[in-house]
Structure formats: structure tokens, C-alpha cells
Amino acid sequence: MANLLQGLRERLQALGQGAIDRIWRLGFASRFFIAVLRQSASTFLRPRLLLREIFFSGVLSLIIISVSGLFVGLVLGLQGYETLQRYGSSEALGVLVSLSLVRELGPVVAALLFAARGGTSVTAEIGLMKATEQLMAMDMMAVNPLARVVAPRFWGGVITMPLLAAIFSMMGVFGGWLIGVVFIGVDDGAFWSQMQAAVDFRFDILNGVIKSFVFGVAVALIAVFEGYDSVPTAEGVSRAITRTVVTSSLAILALDFVLTSFMFRGA
């Protein structure tokens, strides 16, 4: 009986300690976020640093984003046509493809891909800089690593994300057009004109941009934080990369629900 109580007590203690650790880390991440924002001025005063990060996070993600967008558009075209033609509305294929992409799939899937491609590389880079004492060396040279390393990568991600989501959606619409119009034979004029008539700039495109911006902040923050806070060993960096993917993916999906709830009009 005594052993049972002791075991129960230990488990409760471990549970409590785990909860305290997680809350403490969340608080640390919040303070880290504020510190990055405070050190961000130099990023915009030295645009070369920012452009370099936009290149590494964005330009190098272009292929995976474009190809994925195209395939998602191709699938949407096929699935959408199959459903719409049952109701004799196959001309509305352009509307279905574009609204699905601009409102949801573009920002969400692009953000998930960005977390897997750009986010992990940022975490790995910062984590390895920490493990090889490069961040400490910078600090000892009186150069703040938050300003020189972290802030440019954070803002690079934030700026890149909406652009990648736009490219993803564009490629998706192209994929939907390719399947629907070129291969299946949906009327070209109906495809584009219904899309133009149905897609609203304020409620569809702008909301999509807002979503991708929020996802960009979340993914970039998680990526730089996990790298900066990683245990400076090979195993520590590897775990940090895993956490970046898992936390970013969950954050994207949870934030998507929250944002969609706020944007929901019901009509």
C-alpha cells in the first residue's frame, strides 16, 4: 500500500513538474518573442541580411511549393469536377478550386510545407550555430545574436510565408484549369468568369493573406525559438528540428480553426 502511494505521489510530482516546465517554456518563448521584436530594427536597417533570409527561406522553397500547389490543384480539379457534374454545375469548377485554395488550402498547406522545408532548416542552422559556439562567439564580439542571427530569419519567414501561399494558390488554380479545361473540357470562359465573379477580394483573398501572415509569424517564431533554445548537441538539435515540425503543424491547424471562426460569415 505504501509503495502504491509512493508511486502515485511520484507520478503526480512528475506530472506537475512537466506542467510547470511547459508553462515556464511558454513564458520563455513569449519573452524571447518580445526580445526578437525589440532587436528587429537592425534587420530593416540592413536589408541585405533580410534579403539573404528571404532567399534561403523563400526562393529555395519555391520548387516544393510550386509543385505541391500544382498537384493539389490537379486533384481539386478532378475531385471537384466529379462532384459538380452530378449537379450539372461543372462550369463552377473554377470557383470551387479558387475558393478552396485561396481561403484554406493555399495558406494551410503552404505553411505546413514551409514549416517542413524552411522552418527545419532555420532551426538546424541556429541550433548548429549554438552547438559550435558561433552564437557565443558573436556575443563575445559584442554583436547581439538576436539582432544579427535570429531577427533576420524570423522576419524572412514572416515576409516569405504570404508570398509562398500566393504562389501555391496560383499554381493550384493553374492545376485546376489544366485538368478541368484542358483535359476534361470545361468551358474556358465559364471557368475564369465564374471565378472572377465569386472570389471576393476582402472576404476571400485578404482573409487568406491574413491567415498566411499569422502562420508565417507562428512558424518563423517556433523555428527560431527551437533553434535558439536547443540543447547544443547533435541529439539536441535533432530533437529541436522534430519539435519545430510537430509544434508548427499543430499551431497552423489550431490557428486556422481560430481564424476561420472569426472570418466565418454564415452566408
Partner: protein
């Protein structure tokens, strides 16, 4: 040691993660000297270096560099002080995404408004001093360990610091590279009129280039002296260290219950 101290350490105690690492260090390092801090692994040498650089705060006691109490400085003050310091890390800590040239130009670009032509000339001068002008456009990944250490040395002296700190500068070097780095530490210190503080295990190389040596064990200074005094010392700790004896004041075995007790499972972990 005489003359004005650049670094004054008084009753320094440092602890972290529940362990006391430094237990009352007193040390006064004069300007212009090359001083070594020696001791076994985990004795607190690197912790001491980090306190001087302001990366760790003492539990009690103080570290003064050029008359400023390091742990009382705010971020601006600390960074102003660090601009006058150079540090060589154990494995160089070169920035791997930029070339050798850019690594050495990095502190110049960050802290000065020098024109590009002057930065180029200064970088080549620093590289010439460490014998690696021909490697200016290589990437750090293309360098051997010894070359990387020399590039890191050039970067550490890029802004002509008043204090240069070395964290295990000889670790992992072949005998030729070790000799080169050792001589460079001495020559650069004298040429720049700087003060050098070196944390190292390498007693033989150190005895050739330093002015003074402190031995640290279990967070305390256990012996000190000039190289001649150290060579002649009969102190058991110094004798064990200089002659690389397996057992002595620093025991071979980590303290533990007896082997019989361990086999019988009386204690575990």
C-alpha cells in the same frame, strides 16, 4: 606579479545547476602579460573565463576588467567592454556560412565605419600575421583544425583588443600546428601590447610562452608561479600535472563506494 592589473578577481564564487564550480578565486593579471590557467577537466577554468567575459555572473565576489566590475555592467556597458576583448574558442567557432576573409572582416564591419578598401587591407594584414593570407577566400569547412584555429586567432585580434582570452587553444592540434599557435599567441600579444589569458591543459607548450601560471583544482587556486618556479616546484599537484602522473592529489578514480559494495548491489546510480 607586479604592475597595474588589467584583470582583478576577488573572492570569486560561482555555482550553477546546484553545484559550486568556483570557490573563492583571487587573481590579479597585469597588463601586457600572457597568463595561463591550468587544471584538470571540470575544475572551473572555462567558468572563470566566462565570468571575465561577462557570460556568467558570480554568486559572490567580483571580477574587474580595466577597472569595471563586469557583472554590474548593463548590456550596453558589457558590449562596450567586449569590443576591447578578443576570444579564441576551443574549436575556433568560425562562422561556417562565410569565407575566412569575411570571418575576420565581421567584427570590423559590425563595429566600425571603415571603408571597404581599409577593411580589406586590415584583413590581409591579420591573415598575414597568422600565415594564412593565401586561404582568405576559402570557406571554414575547407580548413584543417590548426588553420581554423589560426583564422579564429586572426578574428580575435581583428579590432586590436586590450585583452585576448583563449579557451583551450591547443586542443586537438598536431605538434607543428600546436607550436605555431603557441608562438602566435606570444607574438601577437607582444605586437599588440595586449594582455592574454589562456585556459589550457598543455603544460609543456604553456611553459614556453607564458609569463605566469595559475593551477586551479576543485574551483580553487592550488598553485601559481612563473614557468621557472613551476618547473622547480615540489608541490604535489604541480608535480603530478607537469609530469602527467596518473595518481596524486587529483585521483584517478571518481569518488565512489567500494567495488565490493557495487558488486553486491548495495548502492546503485
Amino acid at each position: 606579479m607586479s604592475s597595474t592589473p588589467l584583470i582583478s578577481i576577488d573572492s570569486l564564487h560561482v555555482g550553477y545547476a546546484g553545484a559550486k564550480v568556483l570557490r573563492g578565486i583571487d587573481m590579479h593579471i597585469p597588463q601586457g602579460k600572457v597568463v595561463a590557467i591550468m587544471g584538470g577537466s571540470g575544475c572551473g577554468k572555462t567558468t572563470l573565463l566566462r565570468c571575465i567575459g561577462g557570460q556568467l555572473k558570480p554568486s559572490t565576489g567580483s571580477v574587474q576588467v580595466a577597472g569595471q566590475v563586469v557583472h554590474e555592467l548593463d548590456e550596453t556597458g558589457l558590449y562596450a567592454l567586449r569590443r576591447k576583448m578578443g576570444m579564441l574558442f576551443q574549436f575556433g567557432a568560425l562562422f561556417t556560412d562565410i569565407s575566412v576573409f569575411e570571418n575576420i572582416a565581421f567584427p570590423m564591419r559590425e563595429h566600425t565605419d571603415l571603408p571597404e578598401s581599409m577593411i580589406r587591407d586590415l584583413v590581409y594584414l591579420k591573415l598575414e600575421a597568422v600565415g594564412l593570407r593565401g586561404a582568405a577566400h576559402k570557406m571554414p569547412g575547407e580548413l584543417s583544425g590548426g588553420m581554423a584555429r589560426r583564422v579564429a586567432l586572426a578574428r580575435a585580434v581583428a579590432l586590436d583588443p586590450m585583452l585576448i582570452m583563449y579557451d583551450e587553444p591547443f586542443t586537438g592540434l598536431d605538434p607543428i600546428s600546436l607550436g605555431i599557435v603557441g608562438q602566435l599567441i606570444r607574438k601577437l600579444n607582444d605586437a599588440l601590447g595586449a594582455t592574454s589569458l589562456m585556459v589550457t591543459h598543455d603544460i609543456h607548450e604553456s611553459l614556453q610562452i607564458v609569463d605566469y601560471i595559475y593551477f586551479v583544482s576543485a574551483g580553487k587556486i592550488v598553485a601559481e608561479g612563473t614557468p621557472d618556479e613551476i618547473r622547480a616546484s615540489s608541490d604535489p599537484f604541480v608535480h603530478q600535472f607537469v609530469h602527467a602522473e596518473v595518481d596524486g592529489p587529483v585521483p584517478f578514480h571518481v569518488p565512489a563506494p567500494s567495488l565490493a559494495e557495487a558488486f553486491l548491489g548495495a548502492t546503485h546510480g
